[in-house]
């Protein structure tokens, strides 16, 4: 549930990058930090171990002010992918308003992707998130690597799923912004009515997306 502060002047969305270990969640955030240019962009805060794998999470704050004066703020988090951190993933997922599932495109990772996605669905249920209504984008990352599952095959396999599919190479950049745009748009569609973004704050979906992404939109 997005959080509206006491004075009603700031609306905060919590967006979570979920996925199997080493699928590139942190790299997605790093690229977004480089590529996005909203009115307000904070420093990226990372809490990682010595071997550069995410121990707790990363946090990237983005935001812009609507003409009404409402500050729209997004806090992007990543979860650690390692299996042993399930309690951590659960804690991170609680109160999430949107999720990007970052899958690893390599053929060897299909089982890990499947397990992690099931884990996402399970944990969403456990922390009280209505998974069917949760804004969710599935990103297949590492398209720049050899031995990856082809786009056609992935699309065929996910054809029955309702979520947008994107393809990215977070290390070099392509696709990362598109994934985020899909997510922001889905978040707008899910919550715009509830918070009267269009009626009271004059924000269309395009305004909303452009505000958070800045010139990259």
């Amino acid at each position: 549930m997005p959080e509206l502060d006491d004075t009603g002047s700031r609306l905060t969305f919590k967006l979570v990058y979920y996925g199997p270990a080493l699928s590139g969640k942190t790299t997605n955030l790093l690229r977004l930090h480089d590529l996005l240019a909203p009115e307000l962009k904070g420093e990226m805060m990372t809490l990682e171990t010595a071997d550069d794998r995410t121990l707790f999470f990363d946090l990237l704050p983005l935001g812009f002010r609507a003409k009404s004066g409402l500050l729209i703020r997004c806090r992007l988090f990543t979860v650690p992918g390692q299996v042993k951190h399930d309690g951590t993933r659960k804690a991170m997922l609680s109160r999430a308003d949107g999720v990007v599932f970052v899958a690893d495109s390599r053929q060897t990772q299909e089982v890990n992707n499947g397990e992690s996605f099931q884990n996402l669905a399970d944990n969403a249920a456990r922390v009280g998130i209505d998974f069917d209504r949760l804004p969710l984008v599935v990103e297949f990352n590492k398209r720049d690597l050899p031995n990856i599952v082809s786009e056609a095959e992935i699309r065929a396999r996910w054809s029955a799923a309702p979520w947008p599919l994107t393809f990215a190479s977070a290390l070099t950049g392509p696709g990362v912004v598109e994934t985020f745009r899909e997510l922001i748009a889905a978040v707008y569609r899910r919550f715009a009515g509830e918070f009267r973004l269009r009626e009271e704050h004059g924000l269309s979906e395009a305004d909303f997306v452009a505000g958070i992404m800045g010139s990259a939109a």
Partner: protein, 387 residues
Amino acid sequence: MSAAFDREWVLGELLPAKEQEKAGAALATLLGGDFAILDPAGAVLWGRLAEGAEREPLVLELEPIGYVAARVPAASLRSAAALIRQILSARSRYILAADFHNEAVNADYEALKASETRYKALSQALEQRVREQVAQIEAQQRQLYVTDKFAAVGQLAAGVAHEINNPVGFIRSNLNTLRGYLQQFAELKSDLTTAGENWQRLDLDFALEDGLAVVDECVAGADRISRIVKDLKGFSNVDHPAEEVLDISECVQRAVSLVTPRLPPGVRLRVELSPLPPRSCQPWQLAEAFHNILQNAVQAVSDGGEIRIRSLTVDNQLVIRIDDDGAGIPPDQLERVFDPFYSTRDVGKGTGLGLTVTRDIVQAHGGTVAIASQPGRGTCVTVALPL
């Protein structure tokens, strides 16, 4: 649970009063004048707000969470703000990680508790099943014990009956013949006059009279042997159907006749059985039940004493009471007397099943067994069976 890790930053939390004092005082010295730390609304949290002071925002994520203010060159104030911001950033990372860790551990703990609850339920179910199985095994053991015992007694009785019946048969037959011979012998007296003197001399009158009495006694003895064998057969259920309608006193009598021959000296048995309305029962089983009680009583009065056995009807119930004035049972043992395999006797002397089996049998007949005892004064066992 502590506050959510992803809550809003508040300057007072990231930089508590004590820390404000330390950092503020240091910066005031460095800046050489009044220095103040302000909340987002501009209120002073620490220090003194100099007149005409400039403000520099403290931004952690997107918006200021507070300000620093001093009347110094802009570059100096910016440096002071940067320094405070560094402190805030370090503190925020620490707090974020700690709170997040806490929340994660809580999530893990909840999962652990859930699984612990599952395992507890599982282990309770398991314990319950073990208890049931143990009870079943015990019941089967008791059943086996009873069956075995009766099988053994039955076999013994059948053997004894066979072995005794034969000799008793010819004893009795021979005695009858002998009686015939003696009568013929008596006829001698009238035919042989000379022999009459010899008859008198030999006191054959007495021999004849006594001989007949002795033979009668032998016949009575043989009859008694037959009766004992019959009793034994009755007890062992040889030749008897399982279920019979009869006077329960008869079962008591069977048990009594089995105990009587082996009474230690000085032990008196007062049997006061009255006719009871007949009811359906398993006579040999009930006899075993009474026999077990009687055996205990005999053991309790082995140094001399009295056992009183009564049968009566009370409130539509058949009541058999067996009292003894023997050693009695201490209270701590009394509460365990029905437990299977509980025995105070030496190993090999008692199975610890006597009263257990007794209760099983009586309960199978819809009745109850009650034991009252006073150590040193005696024990009273009451068996009550519904009519």
